[in-house]
């Protein structure tokens, strides 16, 4: 722009407005990029989580009054029933709970002479949520590893101990105690040592290795009966097909904790609000830039008109105004991009464990979004400025 024209068109007032607009545009674009990125991260995190998630469901038949007095194992699952369940499309795997059919009594070794009757159950190892080191039993071994349900310890610590003034017991403490276990049946008996190696959130029982239970049932008991409880691995806990199947068959179930859908909805809603806020800021900035340029043109419309009358082309004058807003908007867009890039890297290191496999908004996509918004703004701006100045002619 020539010197005289520059001094004629220079106006600090609209430059200040443009500066404010640039800040709003920077803020809006940054929020938009970061929230879209956050949305993408959460979305793919939940998607991955869902993809990799396997739910475990423990089912049993209902127990009614007649069964209570009837024969043993009336509520057990037959081979056919298990086959039928396994064939269902929503069932990924099925495991049976094996019950002990021998007599078990135990006392705390070297501590108290209190005997108590026990029961053992076993599930195939692939259904355990935790397999502690030493979780193995071979014939001839006199050590029985045990996993108990964590809820039971909680039940004792937060109810029984408080109610009766008994000491609370930590998991570590309990894991150190060795139990003396007497297995007996069929006129035979044998002493074993036992210890709790882990606590399970999934299996609500006193779990021992399946190999031990099958061996002991055979040697001391009446063999392994048909299971009364089954553990199912399913893909989608909320599958309506699964629920109607369980209902039809009259099976009761107990499920393991899943990702809270409430949390997910809240996170999605918050991110949506953030995205909308970003969008609002961008629109706000759009409006300020447009209004600023329109005001700037209106403020000196007489001068622009005279310039046109002297022979200046309206399109050339429009270019001068457009170039000015182009500089402000481009700098804002560039800074928003850099800020986003920096924030994304900080976010990556902060939430690495959380979103390790979750896809962030690839920087290329964010760049495209940035370019799209900025181009849209600039194109519209160019159109409006050209039209406004053309009207003066």
């Amino acid at each position: 722009m020539k010197g005289s024209l520059t001094s004629l068109l220079r106006q600090s007032r609209h430059r200040f407005r443009l500066f404010i607009a640039a800040i709003a545009y920077f803020t809006g674009l940054f929020i938009l990029l970061i929230s879209t990125d956050g949305y993408q991260r959460f979305h793919s995190y939940f998607e991955n989580a869902e993809k990799n998630q396997e739910y475990y469901l423990i089912i049993n038949k209902g127990v009614n009054a007649i069964q209570s007095f009837g024969r043993k194992y009336r509520s057990a699952f037959s081979e056919e029933e298990m086959e039928y369940i396994k064939k269902q499309p929503f069932v990924l795997d099925l495991g049976a709970f094996s019950n002990s059919t021998f007599h078990i009594s135990s006392n705390l070794a070297d501590r108290l002479s209190i005997y108590t009757d026990l029961f053992f159950e076993a599930v195939p190892d692939r259904f355990l949520d935790t397999i502690p080191p030493g979780w193995k039993w071979e014939e001839g071994s006199d050590f029985i590893p045990v996993i108990i349900n964590r809820e039971w310890l909680n039940l004792y610590n937060f109810n029984v101990s408080l109610m009766y003034g008994l000491p609370q017991i930590s998991e570590e403490m309990l894991s150190k105690w060795t139990l003396d276990v007497l297995i007996s049946g069929k006129g035979q008996s044998r002493h074993y040592r036992s210890r709790i190696l882990a606590f399970s959130d999934r299996i609500p029982s006193v779990t021992v290795p399946e190999s031990f239970l099958l061996y002991a049932n055979k040697k001391y008991g009446e063999g392994t009966p048909s299971p009364a409880r089954l553990i199912l691995k399913v893909r989608d806990i909320s599958d309506p097909q699964l629920h109607s199947f369980l209902k039809e068959q009259g099976y009761h179930y107990r499920r393991e904790k899943a990702i809270s859908s409430g949390f997910r909805a809240l996170a999605a809603a918050l991110l949506l609000i953030a995205t909308l806020t970003g969008l609002l800021f961008v629109i706000f900035a759009f409006t300020i830039v447009l209004t600023t340029m329109e005001l700037a043109i209106s403020d000196i419309s007489e001068k622009l008109r005279l310039l046109i009358h002297l022979g200046y082309k309206p399109s050339g004058l429009a270019r001068i105004y457009f170039r000015e807003s182009l500089i402000f908007v481009s700098i804002a867009a560039l800074l928003a991009w850099l800020a986003f890039w920096g924030a994304e890297h900080s976010l990556d290191s902060l939430t690495l464990s959380f979103t390790q496999d979750a896809g962030s908004l690839a920087t290329g996509e964010a760049l495209l979004l940035n370019i799209f918004c900025t181009s849209l703004l600039l194109l519209y701006l160019q159109f409006k400025i050209a039209r406004k100045i053309h009207k003066l002619a």
Partner: protein, 216 residues
Amino acid sequence: MDCDSLTLHTVVPFHLKDRDLQSSEVWYQKLHFERGHHYHISAPSGSGKTTLARILYGLNTDYAGSYFIGERHAKSLDIGEWSQLRQKEFAIIFQNLRLFNELSARQNIEIKNDLQRTCSEEKIEEMLQKLGTAHTAERESRLLSEGEKQRVAIVRALCQPFSWLILDEPFSHLDEKTAQTAARLIAKEAADRNAGVISLQLGDDNFFPYSKKWKL
């Protein structure tokens, strides 16, 4: 674009249509202007001198009849073509001078000269000196007297190539002597370009060797 002649064919501004214009030698008449000649159109105030100047310069299209620039109908020209014409073919001295008040006298001239780079700084200085206003060149236009402004407007109009120079009461704020000097400068610049000069004045005058005189 051919700009060697201008033709007005039964032109009348809409706002003058209701007036009795029978005695007018311009409105509703056929006028032909040839490049290289000087034309004088006189009329009392309010007769439409400025309107005619604006029609000839393409700023006013509210008229009936036809105005041709060469073979082209003036109303068919778009704003881009008019910009080109105002840079290279048509120069004007507005009656109300129309300077940018916040710019200095020199900047007002430069802003026009920048379009085609017609005059050197020395040439501009020389013209200002001829008109006796070189000493006000750096002063803001709003601080100039009407006479000084008029001289700046004259120099500005001459800082471009042109085939036609339209003068709308160009010497209204000048004394006789300065007006004569300005007229000589204009005549010389017009002659150098073989340009036509259309001078719209309040009354009769002999500033230029007119080929034709009309009463508006």
